[in-house]
Amino acid sequence: ETLFHSRDRSDLAPPLLRRATPIADLSAAQRFLSKYGWAEAPPGAGSVGPPGAALAEALRKFQKVNALPASGELDAATLATMNRPRCGVPDPRSQLMATSTAPRTPPSLPGRRPRAR
């Protein structure tokens, strides 16, 4: 429970703001890629092997769907993308190539009874 002593909880201690550990190096990137379904879990969780072809391929796919230069290299733009807020559900492989852009629906017609939702 959150600690407080006065009945109106006015002394509620503000929660320590936990920040996600930034993804800043290869091992963190490898964990990100395996966590979200872009690569198999790195051999021997916790240890990182040298970036092999598989990792480069995973990086390249990740870069491509995120409209980044598909270099297969862990560059700053890729790290920035990995650090963006996202959903924790993995990305299914079958979606990897779903990059087509659907025609955008034109803005709604101000109907007879305009209602702002």
Binding site: P15, V89, Q95, S108, L109, R117
Partner: protein
């Protein structure tokens, strides 16, 4: 069994396979799903009311496009609730997946219908343009629970990364089609359907005519935006919220007598009818002679039985066609009487082009659509289109006023979906 022993989505789910590749898997076979914000999982950032309201809206947005209802259930045993939502920090709600604090992972959804939000994130209500919109994240995670996977398609609500939203969050066309692949389209009969005409003056002072299409069912209605092939965002709403003075539910018919000299709009229900004042946006209290509304149909439209099935106004002939059972009555509005040769059988006035492919009797609605320049007969979830002059110019052999074979209404008018009664007021 412990809910979390399964893997995170999108692994195999309990529905039989056969879903389109990559399109996700249908998760629920029930028509109404229950949900609850669990008591031990309230966020410390928003009031509980705000949290519940945002989740109620998020669920409603999905039920506006698929034949599923979502009901908040605060009393049933937790294990029977289909979708449980909660906030937590780090290790939370008995979940094996630990949140990482502010940044990166802001929420996740489990296959059995649990949705968790990282309370270290700065979640904000839809009215705020800062932080992470709780509504947007909730709609996304509910999409997972319903069976949709991530997609990188621009504009989709199912993109894995959070993208600050513009002024209005809505499910776009492709998201609607994706979820309808899993749950089907909304079907159902209508009490009445009509186009509402309004004349406006443009900047040159010319009178322009515009129209909106309305579908009425029970005590709610939708405005249909023909240009966008969908209902208005946020519909359906209660009839009483939008139409003042008409009966609150189960209308039989709407007729708009529209000539060079007359512009009269009538609602019919039971043995009575109301006239609607377009300018004042309410029903007339009385007519020019001081006689009050509603009036008896037998008085205003002598010779017309009631209650009606439906009616529509034929502008060219200046007739109102009233329908009851298997009969149709042609009412001449200038002479204020039923044509001598009526009533006739519907099948006689509107013959089937394809034998036996005809609504025959008790139609729900006869609707003239300005968008399609045609009359449609609605019955259940099907429609029969009436032959137009344009049709006959192309195919002279077609019978006058013949009816084409039936088609599903949902394949011409999209996403006319019910929502749970508890969310109608949203």
């Amino acid at each position: 069994p412990k809910r979390f022993l399964q893997t995170l989505l999108p692994g195999p789910r309990r529905q039989p396979k056969g879903s389109p590749q990559g399109g996700g898997t249908r998760a629920f076979a029930k028509k109404t799903l229950t949900w609850r914000l669990v008591g031990e999982g309230y966020s410390s950032q928003l009031s509980v009311e705000d949290q519940r309201y945002i989740f109620r809206l998020a669920f409603r947005m999905w039920s506006e496009v698929i034949p599923l209802d979502f009901r908040e259930d605060l009393t049933a045993p937790g294990a029977t609730i289909d979708i449980q939502l909660g906030f937590g920090r780090g290790r939370h709600l008995g979940c094996p997946r630990v949140f990482d604090g502010s940044g990166q992972e802001f929420a996740h959804a489990w296959r059995l219908g649990d949705i968790h939000f990282d309370d270290d994130e700065h979640f904000t209500p839809p009215t705020s343009d800062r932080g992470i919109s709780l509504l947007k994240v909730a709609v996304h995670e509910i999409g997972h629970v319903l069976g949709l996977p991530h997609t990188y398609r621009t504009g989709s609500i199912m993109q894995p990364n959070y993208i600050p939203q513009g002024p209005a969050l809505e499910l776009d066309w492709s998201d609607r089609k994706a979820i309808q692949k899993l749950y089907g389209s909304c079907e159902g009969s209508f009490d009445t359907a009509f186009d509402w005409i309004r004349t406006e003056r443009n900047q040159h002072g010319d009178v322009t005519v515009r129209f909106s299409t309305y579908f009425f069912r029970n005590s709610w209605y939708w405005l249909y935006e023909n240009r966008n092939n969908r209902t208005r965002y946020g519909d359906p709403v209660h009839i009483l919220a939008g139409w003042h003075g008409v009966p609150a539910q189960s209308l039989d018919a709407f007729v708009h007598i529209w000539t060079w000299t007359r512009d009269e709009r009538y609602f019919f229900k039971g043995n009575q009818y109301w006239r609607y004042d377009s300018e004042k946006d309410q029903t007339h209290a009385e007519d020019e002679r001081g006689k009050s509304y509603p009036k008896l149909i037998s008085e205003g439209f002598p010779g017309i039985p009631s209650p009606l099935d439906t009616a529509y106004y034929d502008r060219r002939k200046q007739f109102i066609y009233f329908f009851k059972g298997s009969f149709v009555f042609a009412f001449d509005v200038n002479r204020n009487q039923v044509l001598g040769s009526y009533p006739k059988k519907m099948t006689e006035v509107f013959p089937a082009i394809e034998p036996q492919n005809h609504p025959f009797r008790s139609i729900d609605s006869a609707y003239y659509s300005f968008a399609h320049k045609s009359v449609f007969f609605f019955k259940g979830s099907l429609y029969w289109k009436v032959v137009t002059d344009a049709d006959r110019r192309q195919r002279p052999w077609l019978p006058s006023n013949g009816v084409f074979p039936k088609q599903p209404i949902s394949e011409k008018w999209f996403d006319v979906c019910d929502v749970h009664a508890s969310t109608l007021n949203m």
